[in-house]
């Protein structure tokens, strides 16, 4: 993929063979427009589904407080001690909370009528009426004990079915809609004000709500600064040292040695890129861990065996950069090598006739030719590095102590996978939105730099 500026695609006049007549009766498959749209359709569908929509959704979810506790598709209204506390503290309606929230079970006619409707056995209902009418209980368990004490002792499922009809409070109740919540609340206390209804609904809602909290938290959290620094450090070091620097070294070095060894080295350095990432990192662990090769080898020289990868933050960074760098260098190596190959040999011969040493050749012939490839690799790989996650996740998982936690890994830990199990989707989306924005901005800059217009030659068949 050479720099577009090197391509001189002159516009040629389109040959409109039988253009006039053809344009009149072209079927779908014959016209460029029709065929074009047909051919682009699947790609467009995928792009919309998996790029545009997720970008939009990331933006949307970033403004919610979605977590595993709130669930994704809406929520219910649950009266629990926590929500009663919120009602008391945040809305100042402690009295309401007590009135509605204290578990109360009353055996009354209303409940008995409901049982009849449910189809409970008449005998049971009668014995309930005879034995327990008018009694109040502070817990479901006590009521059920008395129900079980009745002569025709119902089975557990029936007992449960009966006891639920006598609940006269909202305690531990779960409602699937606001209406049912308010209806139940009004059944207990018909004089609820609108304000009280609002407060009740707001404090018991279990689903997610819209909020800008995520960004406020991002802006104020000290972890953000640390992770941002980690990410920039990682990108800069890997890019400069390996993806461009070392790649250049490899490309130039393999240029100056005979083809056979050059080919072998190129293959060796391509291995990290084509190896499945799980194995590639496993090999590094084999090399660097306490029980690994380095420790065993160096112990022969009296060096204490240690976990070379995780021992200190510096160690971890070294390995993270090297592991990612080796993979990155291969792409640069291939691109730079083909760019060097494109340099006419005559230039080299001329230089050697002039007595130029190899180093001068490199400086004056090769490097200038690599300007555009270097720029291309830098732009492209900056984005890849900004978002790279696989290798770091498998190698250090952000350790030790969060020292190598980069932005994409932070998203993963927040929203997709962590120890205590509460995944914060909204927060993760907000963090991802930052990356999305950066990604779009950088992609556009990259586009600008490489003047895509030159690549888009006008088609030569105008149908």
């Amino acid at each position: 993929m050479n720099a577009s500026r090197d391509i001189a695609e002159s516009a040629r006049t389109p040959i409109g063979v039988r253009a006039a007549q053809s344009r009149l009766h072209l079927g779908w498959l014959s016209s460029s427009k029709g065929l074009g749209i047909l051919f682009l359709l699947p790609a467009v569908v995928l792009v919309v589904l998996f790029f545009l929509m997720p970008v939009a959704l990331t933006g949307v979810f970033a403004f919610t407080n979605m977590t595993t506790a709130t669930g994704i598709t809406g929520g219910a209204y649950q009266v629990s001690p926590g929500t009663l506390r919120v009602l008391t503290d945040r809305y100042g309606m402690g009295e309401l909370a007590e009135r509605l929230g204290q578990p109360t079970y009353v055996v009354d006619e209303q409940g008995l009528a409901a049982l009849e409707e449910k189809g409970i056995d008449k005998n049971i209902i009668d014995s309930l009426r005879d034995g327990l009418l008018g009694k109040t209980y502070a817990s479901r368990r006590e009521l059920e004990r008395d129900i079980r004490g009745l002569p025709d002792r119902p089975n557990t499922r029936t007992v449960k079915s009966i006891s639920e009809e006598f609940s006269r409070s909202l305690a531990n109740a779960r409602f699937s809609s606001r209406e049912s919540l308010i209806a139940a609340a009004e059944a207990i206390d018909p004089d609820l004000t609108d304000e009280e209804k609002e407060a009740l609904a707001a404090s018991t809602y279990t689903g997610w709500t819209w909020t800008t909290e995520n960004f406020r938290r991002l802006a104020s959290s000290p972890t953000t600064r640390q992770v941002l620094f980690n990410t920039l450090f990682f990108v800069a070091m890997t890019l400069v040292i390996f993806n461009t620097g070392y790649a250049m070294v490899l490309a130039i070095a393999t240029h100056y040695i005979p083809d056979r060894p050059a080919g072998i080295f190129r293959i060796i350095w391509f291995l990290p890129r084509i190896s499945p990432v799980v194995i590639y990192v496993l090999l590094w662990k084999w090399l660097a861990w306490d029980t690994g090769f380095l420790s065993a080898f160096l112990s022969n020289f009296g060096v204490r065996p240690r976990n070379w990868m995780l021992d200190t933050a510096a160690n971890a960074w070294f390995f993270v950069i090297v592991i990612n760098g080796f993979v990155g260098a291969s792409m640069g190596m291939v691109i730079f090598a083909s760019a060097i190959k494109a340099i006419p040999e005559s230039l080299f011969h001329a230089a050697s006739v002039d007595g130029a040493y190899r180093w001068q050749q490199i400086r004056h012939i090769i490097l200038p030719q690599l300007k555009w490839p270097i720029l291309f690799v830098t732009c492209y790989q900056t984005l890849s590095l900004l978002t790279s996650i696989d290798q770091t996740l498998l190698a250090t998982n952000g350790g030790p102590g969060g020292a190598t936690e980069v932005w994409s890994l932070w998203i993963y830990h927040t929203a997709l996978n962590n120890y205590a199990g509460n995944l914060q989707y909204g927060m993760g989306a907000a963090m991802a939105l930052v990356l999305v924005v950066i990604g779009i901005v950088l992609s556009l800059i990259y586009l600008r730099l490489f003047n895509y217009n030159a690549l888009v030659a006008k088609p030569r068949i105008e149908l």
Partner: protein
């Protein structure tokens, strides 16, 4: 004659049809997290329960067939992710074995339903389960799950190394009581560990060898320094206690008894090292007994290891944490299946069945009567650990926001331990983060 034959045939056909109609076949799926090879009875108990339930149904004249599909996961994070997502997709298994701390967020999101909705709590064996365990399995006063196992987390001492630094056999006998009375504190732990390292009894970094990854255990140290996790339904951050807690590990690193990069040591390496006497003092869980004696090949547990409560630190008390796992029921479309699943977990909590798990995996029992079952009573570890540890055990709170607190606490500990931040800085960052993410749900003092 023909008429009678016809009516008889019709009658038989009707009865068999009715019988066939009453024939029920259900498939119940059960998943257990954090379960290794010793923990298979977590899910196998459901199979045993299914067999019993089928027999009871047969006696009642019903035709019930229950197919149990079991799955265990060795990890927690992957397991919890899989569960929450399966639930969102409507595919959650009927029964889950998970830590009790999941009850709060999963109840809120409607993932689980209270077992109290399906079970008579006065019936056997629920009426024999320890009250504090039932408490831990409840949320908002409603019983959401049935305790599946109990455990607690002791401090371990390698006897040989303790003797090498001057403890006699009697001293070691008396040690657990000294810890319990608060006489032997965490400062003493550091002292003894340092002696071991200085005298070359153990290598540097192996004097005090804590667990190398995040876990409920670390809350014990917070409690040791006087911290409280929850009060009146609200989480509590006691800054001074947290800072002393972080400082303890920094001191351990400084004294050379614990490595700075200890966290992240592979677990298998850790287990094999503590079970073979490479470390001097460490902490773990009651199930370690099974791990050391089964997988790690430790022949004489009691001869080599002494155990006690977690010693007190400045401003706190000796304690241990119990992290019971619970059976919970997920919300399913088919109510009948939920009812059957509820019955299954009730039967699986039978003392005899639960003892199979308790003894094989070296966890502790959940019912009073288990101490009367020979398999359990005859197990020295089960007896001693129950006596010495359970009475002092507290548990993590069932609170939807606890997970956030926990993750943040661990982040601060890791940062202090590895020297990225000072304990003071870590605590102040912790405060900032918790205020901003939990707001009024946490009290900071």
């Amino acid at each position: 004659m023909t008429k009678r034959l016809l009516t008889t045939t019709a009658a038989i056909a009707l009865v068999s049809l009715a019988g066939a109609a009453a024939a029920e076949e259900v498939t119940i799926r059960v998943w257990a997290g954090g379960s290794g090879p010793n923990d298979n009875y977590r899910v196998d108990a459901i199979e045993i329960a299914a067999d019993l339930l089928e027999r009871e149904a047969a006696i009642r004249g019903e035709d019930l067939t229950i197919n149990v599909e079991k799955k265990t996961d060795n990890t927690w994070d992957d397991f919890k992710q899989a569960v929450t997502l399966a639930a969102e997709a409507g595919n959650a298994p009927h029964i889950l074995v998970t830590g009790h701390e999941d009850i709060a967020p999963w109840a809120q999101s409607g993932l689980i339903v209270p077992v109290e909705d399906y079970l008579n709590l006065d019936a056997w064996p629920i009426n024999d389960i320890y009250d504090n365990l039932l408490e831990i399995a409840s949320f908002g006063g409603v019983l959401y799950g049935l305790p599946q196992d109990a455990e607690s987390r002791p401090f371990f001492f390698w006897k040989e190394h303790m003797k090498a630094i001057g403890y006699s056999d009697e001293d070691l006998e008396a040690l657990p009581d000294r810890v319990e009375s608060g006489e032997y504190t965490l400062d003493n732990v550091l002292e003894d560990a340092k002696k071991m390292v200085d005298q070359g009894v153990v290598e540097a970094g192996y004097g005090f060898y804590p667990r190398p990854e995040n876990g409920p255990d670390y809350w014990q140290f917070y409690t040791s320094f006087g911290g409280v996790m929850e009060e009146d339904g609200r989480l509590v951050l006691d800054k001074a206690a947290m800072q002393r807690f972080y400082q303890f590990f920094v001191d351990a690193v400084e004294a050379g008894v614990t490595r700075k990069n200890h966290i992240g040591t592979p677990n298998d390496q850790w287990y094999s090292e503590v079970a073979s006497g490479k470390a001097g003092i460490w902490h773990g869980g009651t199930w370690h007994y099974a791990r050391y004696t089964n997988q790690e090949g430790l022949k004489d547990f009691f001869g080599n290891i002494a155990f006690s409560l977690i010693p007190a630190g400045e401003g706190g008390k000796p304690n241990t944490l119990t992290h019971p796992l619970v059976y919970v029921l997920t919300d399913q479309e088919n109510d009948d299946e939920e009812a059957i699943a509820a019955e299954l977990i009730k039967i699986a909590s039978e003392p005899r069945i639960n003892t199979l798990h308790a003894v094989k995996s070296a966890h502790l029992g959940i019912t009073h009567q288990q101490s009367n079952i020979d398999l359990y009573a005859g197990d020295r570890w089960a007896r001693e650990a129950t006596e010495r540890l359970l009475p002092f055990a507290n548990a993590m709170p069932n609170n939807t926001d606890f997970g956030t607190y926990w993750n943040a606490m661990w982040g601060g500990l890791e940062a202090s331990w590895t020297g990225q931040k000072t304990p003071e800085q870590a605590v102040s960052d912790l405060e900032a983060e918790l205020t901003s993410s939990l707001g009024e749900a946490i009290v900071i003092r």
